[in-house]
């Protein structure tokens, strides 16, 4: 296979990957205690969603306000497995029906619902984590993109779906754990996930998966498909007239984003130890769009930085000044949209990168210029003018 690294990422991008890798894998684990590191791990699970959004929204121009749905589905699949493992007949013998999760017993269920059955098996769970959200995204994508529903309407419908799923989870308490979600998760295949060593391991597994997802996303962006996505965002009709099936590309990238989010959701459940509808609905879904927007909607690395920085700021601010948090977040959001639509990554490429030493600035200036120009959406270029 004729594969060259330079066709995959230019030097600046490799430099960016390395900086992020060193930060996540070396600096943060050394500098922080396990409590803080676990929090960072939690933030990084949002980065999975943000990377998916960069592909869907930044590259493809499809803004989904329902990514929390996929994050939640992935997280719930993992939580269902862990919950079943925690509800052995011995551990739950004080219940009127031993062997089913405690919240089912409280809601007078006497047997396990059928859709919980596959989650006794770990391989099936892993498959479900990826397949359930992807298939759901596929159905939604086919239903909407084939009918050329796009843009604003797509955003509103995905948002409505996030609302529906939240209401469904909260309403069907006996099957889903209701508003509290699925809590009290202890072990994964007999391995206690609440110990410090397990949390370290999970952090590194999470970091590893994050880089796998980053590489896949980078591959998609650099492939012909990535180019087509950008072309569709700018002039959808021309791509369609050129004979490409626009809907299929959109469905693919939407499914990919959903799968990324689901991995994030599953890792979230493992690291945090519970899953609840408060990570599914409209507010978390839009917050994930915020991470992407602040980090830079065109940059997958920016999305990771956005998720890290915003969440860290949220934790610090809401510990110190709980009142200020919403004001700061709202203000930041308006500022990002109004003043620098390409987010932190945009600021980086405009102000920091030109001052970096020559050897970092990639395959000569010309190529890099072409690249950045092609990536900036028309609308924001017009706004800048």
């Amino acid at each position: 296979m004729n594969f060259k690294i330079s066709s995959f990422a230019n030097r600046t991008e490799i430099f960016g990957f390395l900086v992020l890798a060193v930060l996540i894998v070396v600096i943060l684990p050394l500098a922080l205690d396990i409590f803080r590191l676990n929090l960072i791990g939690k933030y990084l699970t949002y980065a999975f969603v943000a990377i998916g959004l960069v592909l869907c929204w930044g590259a493809g121009g499809i803004l989904s306000l329902g990514q929390g749905v996929f994050f939640g589905l992935g997280g719930y699949c993992m939580a269902m497995f862990l919950k079943l493992e925690a509800s052995t007949p011995e551990a739950t013998k004080i219940q009127s029906t031993p062997g089913i999760p405690d919240f089912m017993d409280w809601n007078q269920l006497t047997e396990l619902p059928w859709f919980w059955e596959p989650f006794h098996s770990f391989p099936l769970t892993l498959v479900a984590i990826l397949v359930v959200p992807t298939v759901f995204a596929y159905i939604l994508g086919v239903a909407m993109f084939k009918r050329r529903v796009g843009g604003v309407y797509f955003a509103i419908i995905t948002q409505a779906i996030a609302a529906i799923l939240t209401i469904l989870i909260i309403g069907q308490q006996g099957y889903t754990g209701g508003v509290n979600g699925i809590t009290d998760l202890r072990t994964l295949m007999g391995w206690d996930i609440r110990t410090e060593s397990a949390q370290y391991t999970l952090y590194f597994v999470n970091a590893f998966l994050l880089f796998v997802v980053l590489l896949v996303a980078q591959y998609v962006r650099k492939s012909k498909l990535g180019r087509l996505l950008v072309a569709m965002r700018e002039k959808e009709d021309r791509v369609r007239f050129s004979g490409y099936s626009v809907a299929n590309f959109k469905i693919f990238v939407f499914c990919l984003g959903a799968a990324f989010s689901a991995i994030g959701g599953a890792m979230f459940t493992l690291q945090v130890g519970f899953m609840s509808p408060s990570f599914v609905g409209i507010v978390p879904s839009i917050e994930m769009v915020i991470f992407t927007a602040v980090g830079g909607r065109l940059s997958i690395l920016g999305a990771v930085w956005g998720a890290l920085i915003i969440n860290q700021a949220k934790t610090l601010l809401s510990e110190a000044f709980p009142e200020l948090w919403l004001l700061a977040m709202g203000g930041l959001f308006i500022a990002v949209v109004m003043a620098f639509p390409n987010g932190l990554a945009g600021l980086y490429t405009t102000y920091v990168e030109p001052r970096l030493p020559k050897f970092l600035s990639g395959n000569g200036g010309k190529d890099a210029d072409d690249d950045s120009d092609a990536d900036v959406p028309l609308a924001s270029k017009q706004a800048a003018e």
Binding site: R147, V149, G151, Q159, I164, I282, I334, S380, A383
Partner: protein, 308 residues
């Protein structure tokens, strides 16, 4: 789900729930009218619409307190004063927001969504700081309490009828303004072709600001009506924003008639189903049906045929 009810009982239940749904319908229509103007006509996705509504609700709450403390003799008419003030307050805030934020974003509709979401976060926090996190309610004047007894099973709440009449008046006013007045013609001209409207001498910036302010002002009036059915808290508006967007999209974004029809369909099906199912399942069924229909018919129930 209809087992165990006789036919006359069923009709009574439907009538009762239908009238109960009227208030929900009115709030939906008023919210959606504002949004239909802002989103359907201008293409701005106003995620802060719920917060504009809640501003109106808080203004009504303040009025109710001021009148009962200082002007108890005039308490009967406070609601009308409150509505006018709510319209002015929300409209003024809307105009200010348009001037500072929205006018820079007309070419980027998806970004208006993000920016107004930021605005809604700020407004929520401001409400929480000013009015406290606890939900507040208003006192209604005596003549709005109670209900008419139509038959021995069917009762109609008076405040529901009142809000309903109000909604019809406002809707008629908006329809007149949009489709019969000179200003409405300008709005529609700007919406259809901004450059050309500017070329024939319409001050598009001014029309935009007026349109946005009008939409927000109507949301404020919706907030006034909302105080009759629910208590007002900093985040109450957020609960309605998805429903409202669905109402507007379902009706066909450009059509005011469609907005009213879809508000009626959604609120009535929700309130009727609520009697037979749990509240959450009623909502899920309604929303799912709407989303399903939208997937089959993305342009909504009523769509204008415009050549683009």
């Amino acid at each position: 789900m209809f087992d165990g009810y006789t036919f006359s009982e069923l009709t009574s239940i439907l009538a009762m729930q239908g009238f109960a749904g009227l208030i929900l319908f009115s709030v939906f229509v008023l919210m959606a009218l504002g949004l239909a103007i802002i989103f359907g006509q201008m293409g701005v996705i106003n995620m802060a619409h719920g917060e504009f509504m809640i501003l109106g609700a808080y203004v009504t709450y303040i009025c109710s307190n001021v009148f009962s403390t200082y002007l108890p003799s005039l308490f009967g008419i406070y609601f009308f004063v409150a509505m006018i003030l709510a319209f002015i307050a929300s409209g003024a805030l809307g105009a200010a927001v348009e001037w500072t934020m929205i006018r820079h974003l007309y070419k980027r509709p998806l970004d208006t969504l993000l920016a107004t979401w930021g605005l809604s976060l700020i407004l929520q926090q401001v409400y929480r700081s000013v009015f406290g996190a606890r939900e507040v309610g208003v006192t209604l004047p005596d003549y709005l309490l109670g209900s008419f007894q139509l038959t021995d099973m069917v009762e109609v709440p008076i405040n529901g009828v009142f809000v309903m009449c109000l909604t019809i008046l406002i809707t008629a006013g908006v329809a007149y303004l949009m489709f019969k007045s000179a200003w409405g013609r300008q709005v529609r001209a700007v919406v259809q072709n901004r450059a050309m409207a500017g070329a024939v001498g319409i001050n598009t910036a001014k029309v935009d600001r007026g349109t946005y302010a009008l939409g927000c002002g109507i949301a404020g009036v919706a907030g006034s009506a909302f105080t009759m059915v629910g208590s007002t808290g900093p985040t109450s508006g957020q609960l309605y924003i998805v429903d409202t967007f669905l109402v507007v999209v379902f009706g066909g974004a450009q059509s005011l008639l469609g907005t009213i029809a879809s508000a009626f369909a959604i609120s009535q099906s929700q309130s009727t189903l609520e009697f037979f199912l749990s509240g959450s399942m009623a909502k899920i069924l309604t929303l799912l049906t709407v989303v399903g229909i939208l997937m089959l018919r993305p342009q909504g129930l009523f769509s204008l045929k415009i050549r683009r």
